[in-house]
Amino acid sequence: MNELSDEDFRLIVREWVAANYPPEIRNPLKRLHWNECKSWYFKLAEKGWLCPGWPVEHGGMGLSPGKQLIMLDEFERHGCARTIDQGVLMVGPLLIAHGTAEQRAFFLPKVLTGEHVWCQGYSEPNAGSDLASLRTVAERDGDDYVINGQKIWTSMAMDANWIYVLARTDKKAKKQEGIGFFLVPMDTPGITVRPLTTLDLNEEFAETFFDNVRVPASALVGLPNKGWSMAKALLGFERIFVGSPKQSAYALARLRDLAEWIGVWDDLAFQAVFTQHREDVDDLTDLYEVYVEQVRGGEVPGPDVSMLKIYQTELYQRVTETMLDIAGDRSAMLEPMEGNRALNPAGLFLQSRPSTIYSGTNEIQRNILSKNVLELPS
């Protein structure tokens, strides 16, 4: 695949997606649960396209970063749903880099078949933006570790059968240095999952409680005090994804649908606002391309990539806010207009709310820019 020209590769992906993507889950309104998105997961697995970034010897495609971006671009273009992809994006790469031969042999194939569905145990009620202050502990007890604490914002915890957990292994060490990375089956005694209903009335997240959860020492990946640095290093060029203009472009297309349906499309005041949004999306696309070029050239973008995340998510929100403005009273209704999923201003507005919070709040991103790019004093 890496030998193909970018254009040929793009066409192959485009055609295959068009022919194989389950039509009933195109452009979903909400993050899909496992029973809704697994058909797509299995299609990808069957084709051998589930893990583009993994090396071929581990069952991946060994695809170059540039080609991976094209693939993602085509998936987004078609409106493909995100699968429950933590095994693919996080657990696999982590084990390939830091796991033992036994861990790789046990876990990697089960990600590839979908037998293991993973969720992420990072955030805690008192460790959100300040994740390194997490307080869940993993205490050594003979051949085992015993985990106690509480995780929150565990996406798709109800669907997952495994969870990877950051837990404190050394209370005396500096806060980033006493953290371990553990792989835990969700059916281990002592784990309780309590779903959280989100603002858009979806049970996407959960609180996950650990009450004397006993796991063998082989559940630890790498060294007991290196969990933080391993987890941090996982985020390479993928950090540009969250700044992809596709999300805003999708909202803009829905804004157009809505304006035409309502009858304000030709209104001059509306056109001025719409054109401003459109140029913002196009300008963001130009900036995104600067980073895509870096990735194609084999570079890992620096901390300045935070600019993409900030601008993209705030633009996405602005576009959905314009939807509310033109929909007026209609946006008060719980259901999409005329049952048409493309005419759903309130739904999209609510969906856009967490984008400025997840993956590091935009305020944290601005801190990163200030400290690491502008080098302002602390």
Partner: protein, 354 residues
């Protein structure tokens, strides 16, 4: 065809060549001294710029120029913007591309300054306004907002179907110059049955390039003042701390940085499209998007930098004000953001890709 590598090299050379006259580290003394003087720029520096080949950068080699592209010209004007250079290179380069071969040598050498006069009313980018007419070797009408007109020896005047070359001191020429916010000037040219030389040609392409070059100049303006402001935040102390340590100022700074970066990406992509796209609508839409972003971003950034400086930023002695006042002149020049957004909308119909 040039390769991407050749292009990168030629852009670097252009930027380096600018450093002598337009240094990013210059202290702006010369710029201050020239403000509110007539003609508002230095003809000796102008000749130097011409000797460097800057005016003829876009003029083809067989006409005595260097035949380089819009990307090179924009790389140059970005440097000029960073140094707030008042010499009217962008306007004069627009005129130079419209002049016939025999009129070029004196102009490219810097001996004679010819500026374009195309605008007939405020808030207009209509090159075919038609209020100025040429008949029987004579031109009559009125043109406005001719940048740095006080220093011109002649004007290239747009008229229906072509252009007319008008000497500054010809009978029937009345030039009234108003001082602009940056200390330069802007001319209103009233032509009453003035003897003129007809020139075949279309100002369209030269105008597009002037829009691009102005966008790049604004990019230089915002980039430099942002850098000056970050340096200030790292040195100025209040409450016993460097003010750059305050999160309120840090987040403001981050937002300005995003504007500068968007403007850079957009201007660079649009300049590239001018050199590489065969589609006129695509090229013009890119120009309009770049000018809209550059005008808006420069306004946001220069205003933000005044705020970040606090009281000192409101004094004429502090440099950020120079950048703000330059932006006040150039953000509306060759079409303000709203005009270009409207043109973008007309040129680039909404796609149906989604």
């Amino acid at each position: 065809m040039t390769t991407a590598e050749d292009r990168g090299e030629s852009l670097r050379m252009i930027r380096d060549s600018a450093a002598g006259i337009a240094s990013r580290n210059s202290d702006l003394k010369r710029i201050r001294a020239l403000r509110f003087t007539e003609p508002g720029f230095d003809r000796a520096v102008w000749r130097e710029m011409c000797e460097m080949g800057w005016l003829g950068l876009l003029v083809s080699e067989d006409q005595g120029g260097s035949g380089l592209g819009v990307q090179e010209f924009c790389a140059l004007t970005e440097e000029l913007g960073a140094a707030l250079i008042p010499e009217p290179l962008i306007a004069a380069a627009m005129a130079a591309r419209l002049l016939p071969f025999d009129a070029l040598p004196d102009v490219l050498s810097g001996e004679r300054i010819v500026l374009p006069a195309w605008q007939e009313k405020p808030l207009s980018i209509d090159l075919a306004a038609g209020g100025t007419v040429f008949a029987n070797g004579r031109v009559t009408g009125k043109k406005m907002f001719v940048p740095m007109a006080a220093g011109a020896d002649a004007f290239v005047v747009t008229v229906p179907g072509g252009l007319a070359l008008v000497e500054r001191d010809a009978a029937g020429v009345h030039l009234e110059c108003q001082t602009t916010q940056d200390g330069g000037n802007s001319g209103t040219l009233t032509l009453n049955n003035v003897q003129a030389t007809w020139i075949d040609g279309d100002p369209d392409l030269a105008f597009e390039t002037a829009c691009m070059a102005t966008s790049a100049y604004l990019l230089g303006v915002m980039d430099r003042v942002f850098g000056i402001t970050m340096d200030y935040l790292k040195t100025r102390e209040q409450f016993g701390r460097k003010i750059g340590s305050f999160q309120a100022l840090q987040h403001r700074s981050a937002d300005l940085k995003i504007q500068v970066s968007l403007a850079r990406a957009t201007v660079n992509a649009a300049a590239k499209a001018q050199d590489e796209s065969d589609n006129v609508s695509v090229r013009k839409a890119a120009v309009s998007r770049a000018k809209a972003r550059a005008s808006d971003a420069a306004s946001i950034v220069t205003r933000g930098c005044i705020q970040l400086h606090g009281g000192i930023g409101y004094t004429d002695a502090a440099d950020p004000g120079l950048f703000l006042r330059k932006t006040m002149v150039l953000a509306p020049a060759y079409g303000a953001a709203a005009l270009h957004r409207a043109r973008f909308r007309d040129l680039a119909p909404v796609g149906d890709e989604d």
